[in-house]
Structures are given as structure tokens and as C-alpha cells.
């Protein structure tokens, strides 16, 4: 199984390490042609404005949309979650507009308000250590979206079919259970394809 990590900017190496620890091959993706060889794609944390701009510049918007249309799973963490969202609070334009949700950027405040905490996630037995860095929140979801975890009553992990989004950074810990969860989504999507 080959999982790409969009490598325009952000925590790419950490996701590749987590993917490999979870038992799949991780690939750094800089060009749209590389999408063809992948079973799944991770959009990492970083600066969503920067990642969004570079995705437009290098034609990743349509390419990732058609990747998604083939039913291939996509996992967005932090900035990646913002990139996946259909709506961004306070902005007219969103990026991929794939997941039926509204997100608020920097919802917890500035860097001094960044934190880590133990977070229970549906589908994973014990809580995971979640690292929130200038993190976004999911403020509203459509009927297709399944809420997998909340923090102080606000949505921080969600899934819509083959799309997975987390406000925090599972790649900054040694716990790869969320990456394993994503690999299971890829296995399931391959079964459906057949």
C-alpha cells in the first residue's frame, strides 16, 4: 500500500515516518503525476494559506478532487483539514471543498494557547495524545459527516466516507493508531473498488 504525503510545505517527514511505522509505504508528493501511483493521500499540517496557494499554482486542486472522485482516501491534519473543508469561516474562498463542513482557523487563539491533551476518538480503543498547534475547529458539519471526537464540545475529528480530518497532529507523537485507522480506510476502499 502506497500513501502519499503532499509535500508543498509542512510536517511531511513526520507523516511519512508514521505511515511507515503503521506498515505502509510513504511517499513525498510534489507533482500531480505522482497521485496516479497512490492508494491514499495525506495533506499535512503547515500553513493552510501557503499550502492552498501552492496547490493552486501547481494544479493540485483539480488533481486531488479527481483522486477523491475515484474513492481514494484522503486524510487532512490541521492545515490539511482546512484544505479539505467546503467552507472556511471569514473567507469567501475555500480550497478543495471536498468535506461538507465549516472550519474556523486558529480557533484556539495564538501559539501561546497551543496545547496537547488525551483525546478519545471513536473507533480507537484508548485515547490518543493530540497535539493542537494554532489549531482549527470544525464548527458545523453536513449529514454525511460522522463526528469521531470532540474537545470541550467542539468537533476535532471527523470522517465523511473516504475522507478523514483531524484538527491536531497525530504525526507529532509515536502513536500511529490514527494512521492505522486511515490505512484501514484505504483497505476498505480497495475492497469496494473490486
Amino acid at each position: 500500500m502506497k500513501v502519499g504525503v503532499l509535500a508543498l510545505q509542512g510536517a511531511v517527514a513526520e507523516h511519512i515516518r508514521s505511515i511507515e511505522q503503521a506498515g505502509a509505504t510513504g511517499v513525498s508528493v510534489k507533482r500531480v503525476e505522482q497521485l496516479d501511483e497512490l492508494d491514499g493521500l495525506i495533506i499535512p499540517g503547515g500553513e493552510s494559506t501557503t499550502i492552498g496557494k501552492l496547490m493552486r499554482k501547481y494544479d493540485f486542486i483539480d488533481a486531488v478532487r479527481s483522486f477523491s472522485a475515484q474513492g481514494k482516501p484522503i486524510f487532512g491534519t490541521c492545515a490539511g483539514l482546512i484544505v479539505l473543508a467546503e467552507r472556511i469561516e471569514g473567507q469567501d474562498e475555500a480550497h478543495l471543498e471536498l468535506m461538507d463542513m465549516t472550519v474556523a482557523r486558529n480557533a484556539f487563539g495564538r501559539q501561546r494557547e497551543s496545547f496537547e491533551t488525551d483525546l478519545p476518538v471513536q473507533g480507537i480503543d484508548e485515547p490518543i495524545r493530540a497535539v493542537f498547534i494554532r489549531a482549527p475547529l470544525i464548527t458545523q458539519v453536513g449529514p454525511e459527516v460522522e463526528v469521531l471526537s470532540t474537545f470541550n464540545g467542539e468537533i476535532v475529528t471527523a470522517r465523511q466516507g473516504h475522507l478523514l480530518a483531524a484538527s491536531y497532529h497525530p504525526e507529532l507523537t509515536d502513536d500511529v493508531r490514527l494512521h492505522e485507522y486511515f490505512l484501514d480506510m484505504i483497505k476498505d476502499s480497495a475492497v469496494v473498488e473490486r
Partner: protein, 294 residues
Amino acid sequence: MMETGTSRVKRGMAEMQKGGVIMDVMNAEQARIAEAAGAVAVMALERVPSDIRAAGGVARMADPTIFEEVVKTVSIPVMAKARIGHYVEAKVLEALGADYIDESEVLTPADEVFHINKKEFTIPFVCGAKDLGEALRRVGEGASMLRTKGEPGTGNIVEAVRHLRLINSQIRKVQNLSKDELYAEAKNLGVSYDLLLDVHETGKLPVVNFAAGGVATPSDAALMMHLGADGVFVGSGIFKSDNPERFARAIVEATTHYTDYKLIAEVSKNLGTPMKGIEISKLSASERMQDRGW
């Protein structure tokens, strides 16, 4: 339990900046240009390094209104500089809500012996280094990110190259030492054994390392990435060039695609005149910013 200001939260912030360009800005308008060009963060300051050189005198933390104006303008992280060893300037910046503090040799040092104990802060610090010893001493004091010093405000990449190459070769040397040799090397470098052991085992610095000091063209930025930098800081290089918008965009793209030489050629076309550079040998010893800090 919810914990703020942990080492993971502070270092994680720097991880998210990787592959990106951090730009010096002096006002809201420049901040807007930097964000539009795809900067991952901006550094709010009163004068870019080349102006600090020209102005002379004591360079201090910027007027907080500049920081606040920039914060209001952009949604990307905003950094600010405090003088080396100036605990109070750093606390003021933390109180203002700076996302990152640069304890910077570009400003006139406030303390000639001690750097700030950065572990006492909730927000992360970036510090300059010209060699492995300096880099690990800063990490020991709690820096969450490093940058090579280069020679700021000169538009001359040679010192940034020298510092990054030196750090790389020192890391290779440490990797090849046996464990019992590490104690003596820790003493030679003036660093803790534990941090040196970490470098020995991982073959890299414990925190993200950007290049800084002299980046003036897209090729300069790509060269630093080629040498192993995790990203670049551009100070005077953008707003002292002919066409800041184009230089800013081109440097971001060259940093992302630093091995795509055709692309770097494309983005380098018709940029106009880069900032005027300074030959390092023309600088007197007192004008060399890289020698501040130790």
C-alpha cells in the same frame, strides 16, 4: 489534561513551518505582500537588517504597534525579535501574543554572557547558530528552532553557506564517534552529553533548522535547501529588491521546488534588481552580526 507550552507543542510549531519561507516585514502592507506570496510566517520588525546596518546605534525590540498592526493584517504566525539575553523584551513579546520569538544577533545584544532561559516561556524561540556547539547550547537553553546566522543584511549568501556546511560536517563527525568519545566531544563543543548523544543517534539537530542571513535570490534559497536547511528566512532580500511581490513569490516557489532547476530558472526571470549586496571582507569586525552570541 490539557497542557500548554510543552516542548512538543513548541517544537511542533517549527515542524509546521518546514519547507517554507519566513519573511521580515516592517508594516501591514509588507505583511500583506508576504502572506499573499505564500510566506509561512512573518517577522515583524522596525528595520530590516540592512537598514539596521545603515542606521547604526543600538538596535532594540520593535515598537509593539508594528507587531500589533501586522497581527491584525495576516492570519499566518507572526514572529518578533528580542535582543540576546533580554528577558523582559521577550516577556513583553509573549504578552503581546507573538507566535515565536527570535533571540537575534541582528539586534544589539543586551547581555554579553547569558542568553535567555527559554524554558520559562510558553511560546517557542528561534535562535541563530554558526556551528554545532552554538546550536546545541541554544537547544539546551530551550530553543525550539534554529537558524544559521549567515551575515544578515548583506545579501551575500557566503556566510550562511559556511555555517550550514560546518554544522553538517560536525554532525557527520559526531555520528562517527564511538560512545566513549562523545564525552570529550561534549566538553570540546561546550554542550550537554545528552544532546550530543541525540545527534550521534539521529544524525540531525534535535529541532528544525532554517537558513538565514544573506538570502537574496530564488537560487540562494534553493541552495540552502539543497544543503539541508528545513526552510529559509529572508530579511532584507525581499523589501530591498526592486520588485518585492515578485521576489517574494519566486523565493517561495524556489524553496518548495529546490531541485527543479527549470522551475527556478522560470521564476528567476525578469525579477528586476535584487537587493544590493555587501562583500563580507568590506565589513569591519564590529559590523559583523554573526559574531554576536556564542
